[in-house]
């Protein structure tokens, strides 16, 4: 049995959240509050590092009682939604922040790539930045001297090595930064979302480098939202949720559980009683459903970029003889509008109405989406707005080629591109 490399024992971490300021409705109260403000501000700032009253509403348990072990040569994937505690865990493991309680024991040199390119200065050349970045990660100048050529060759920026990095493309900067970190030869490597950037070829090299690292008996902790990269690299996974470790097991098992958890209650909403449903006196939603055309509607089904999606919205209309149309807005989880589609304006009677439409396969990119519904009377007056009538996630379909980066673009159409030789030299 190999020696334990990382041992995390009942680890917890508290953070202080901002608390909303009280409002004052009189001048006297406002002046009084202004006079008291320095004392209040002092307590608030002090509270950032002081946790006497742990049950306070402004205290957040970013990590709560997390225990696990990682053995030598293991590649451990850490999955979880944003805010689940992954980043906090990595910060504690890389000694950027200290735990509130519990302990960590690590044997071996740790290098963390929480953000590649730490220490990069835009005015300095690539050469100077290699030294800067390397020493910040704990290398000595001699070590860097020895590996300099290897680092430069791996990054593929030889020609620009004496150019200030502000003239580099962002991809070049990341390549250079990853190369430095990859050549540190640490016993333990902590990696957070580095594959989100860089081109296919470089990603392949990075994955190769990480596999090498683990095959040399070194340990890797890998955090990513990209399940395919996790799947291809990791031998074991843990899943975090609300600061707790909820699952620890084989990669496939954990990833499937994680993906199924992400879908709860979003893509199929049916309201049994109208009073519970979103809407107002004129319009009430009855159901909002997204499903893939190749199957029947069911909750928790995974939608992929290459599925044809069917949307179904049913609503009650309570006002007789109204002339109205329906306008649907598709937003990403970040609030960017992807499109807005409208129906024709027509008279609608009292009762239940249903609207259906489809989004063809290979149009949406992988992302989390929501749909807002507008009911518009006489083409000008919004009589009802239902925000986030339904939300759903489109997952990346398994790809044919070994490239795991985020596919960029608001949409992801599959267009037929011809590509042939036009003439000979």
């Amino acid at each position: 049995m190999s020696e334990t490399y990382i041992k995390v024992d009942h680890l917890s971490k508290l953070y202080r959240l901002g608390v909303a300021e009280a409002m004052h409705d009189s001048l006297g109260a406002a002046i009084g509050a202004a006079l008291k403000a320095p004392f209040k501000n002092f307590r608030k700032l002090q509270g950032l590092s002081d946790f006497k009253d742990k049950d306070d509403e402004s205290v957040l348990w970013a990590l709560r009682d997390v225990s696990f072990e990682v053995r030598e040569g293991e590649v451990l994937g850490v999955v979880g939604k944003n805010g689940a505690g992954k980043s906090t865990l990595l910060k504690l493991l890389s000694r950027i922040s200290l735990p509130s309680s519990g302990s960590i024991e690590i044997s071996g040199r740790v290098v963390s790539l929480l953000e590649v390119g730490t220490g990069f200065h835009k005015e300095l050349s690539g050469r100077e930045n290699i030294y800067m970045n390397g020493t910040i990660l704990g290398m000595t100048r001699k070590e860097i001297d020895r590996k300099f050529d290897e680092i430069v060759a791996f990054s593929g920026v030889e020609r620009f090595i004496d150019t200030p990095v502000k003239r580099y493309s962002s991809g070049m900067q990341v390549r250079l930064a990853f190369s430095v970190a990859a050549h540190l030869e640490p016993e333990i490597m902590i990696i957070d979302e580095v594959l989100a950037v860089g081109d296919a070829d470089f990603q392949k090299r990075c994955l190769g480098k990480m596999k090498d690292v683990s095959q040399q008996g070194r340990t890797v902790l890998f955090v990513s939202h990209n399940m395919q990269a996790v799947q291809s690299l990791c031998t074991r996974c843990i899943m975090m949720e609300n600061g707790r470790l909820v699952m620890d097991g084989g990669t496939d098992e954990v990833i499937n559980y994680y993906l199924s958890k992400q879908m709860t209650g979003g893509s199929m909403r049916v309201y049994e009683t109208p009073t519970d449903a979103p809407g107002n006196q004129q319009i009430r939603l009855q159901r909002a459903i997204v499903y893939k055309n190749s199957s029947t509607p069911s909750d928790g089904q995974l939608l992929y970029v290459n599925d044809e999606l069917v949307f179904e919205f049913a609503f009650w209309n309570y006002s007789p003889g109204v002339h109205a149309n329906l306008s649907l807005v598709l937003n990403t989880v970040k609030g960017e509008v992807i499109f807005n589609v409208v129906t024709d304006d027509k008279p609608i009677g009292e009762g239940l109405h249903v609207a259906r439409f489809q989004i063809p396969a290979n149009l949406l990119n992988d992302n989390v989406y929501s749909i807002d519904l507008y009911f518009i009377k006489n083409l000008k007056e919004t009589i009802c707005l239902i925000e986030n009538a339904v939300s759903f996630e489109v997952h990346d379909a398994p790809r044919e080629k070994a490239w795991y980066g985020k596919w960029i673009g608001a949409i992801r159409p599959k267009l037929h591109i011809t590509f042939e030789q036009e003439s000979r030299l």
Partner: protein, 277 residues
């Protein structure tokens, strides 16, 4: 090598291990100092000339206001021109003020480092204390040229200058350890520094002669380390007075206390830096 990470509370002392770790990272300090120096004057027209302008312009202003308008010349009691008198003080003073100011703000300005990577945090406030020595050296060279132009020859006491430089660095570092660790959680410190630096300058014998302080109070006054530094600079470079050892000694006491308490405070706060920014 086994690293144990545990919650830390209360005072944390600077141990032999901490010092060894600091030494391990000496190349990082070297790189940071080099970076500060090479970046500071990039994309400026005058480059390193800025290191000279600052004390020089201040000297011209002071010579005009205090030398001519207020007639401080008569108070300094010797035939040393006021320009030389004030510039001799402004060279160490400018170093102290600039190093203190940038070291105090150094943690705030370098968040991107310590929120991403672990290394001994103390390297960050130490960096400007060292990098600003270059500006000091340039201004010091100008000072020597100026003394030469006025025909003033420093006496043997110039051999004690390194001691004065050490005192001024210790004072700047001791105060910066306190102030930088405070500033990261309480940004009030940056506001406070704006007038505090001015207050410190008028409290030091930069524009006025030490003869304004009665002889019996000099030792007590010397607990403000920059007073001894400045008077020491005048004694060794202008050479018309004896080295004020009482003041320098008192200054070293203060500087040592500032350094020790500064290190203690910094060490006990550094574990929360990444959480409170």
């Amino acid at each position: 090598m086994i690293t144990k990470i545990n919650p830390r509370k209360g005072w944390h002392f600077f141990t032999v291990e901490d010092f060894k770790e600091l030494l391990q990272y000496k190349d990082l300090l070297y790189m940071l100092v080099g970076r500060e120096i090479s970046v500071l004057y990039k994309q400026t027209v005058f480059g390193f000339a800025w290191a000279i302008f600052r004390p020089l312009v201040q000297m011209v202003i002071f010579t005009f206001i205090f030398g001519k308008l207020v007639n401080m010349q008569s108070m300094i009691g010797t035939d040393v021109p006021y320009a030389v008198f004030s510039f001799t003080a402004l060279v160490p003073w400018t170093y102290f003020a600039v190093a203190l100011n940038s070291s105090t703000g150094s943690l705030i300005g370098n968040q991107q480092f310590f929120t991403k990577v672990y290394f001994p945090r103390m390297i960050i406030p130490i960096t400007p204390i060292i990098s600003k020595l270059l500006d000091f050296a340039i201004a010091f060279f100008i000072l020597l040229v100026m003394l030469f132009a006025y025909g003033i020859v420093p006496n043997y006491q110039i051999v004690f200058l390194p001691l004065l430089v050490l005192l001024m660095m210790m004072t700047a570092l001791g105060m910066s350890l306190w102030l930088s660790a405070l500033a990261i959680q309480y940004r009030d410190v940056s506001q406070f520094m704006q007038f505090f630096a001015q207050l410190l300058m008028y409290a030091a014998p930069v524009i006025w002669p030490i003869t304004l302080v009665p002889q019996g109070y000099r030792f007590v006054y010397g607990f403000y380390p920059m007073a001894g530094v400045i008077e020491g600079f005048r004694a060794s470079l202008i050479g018309q007075s004896a080295m004020p050892w009482d003041m320098i000694g008192a200054g070293f006491i203060t500087a040592t206390i500032l350094m020790i308490t500064g290190v203690l405070y910094f060490r006990s706060r550094e574990n929360v830096f990444a959480d409170v920014v």
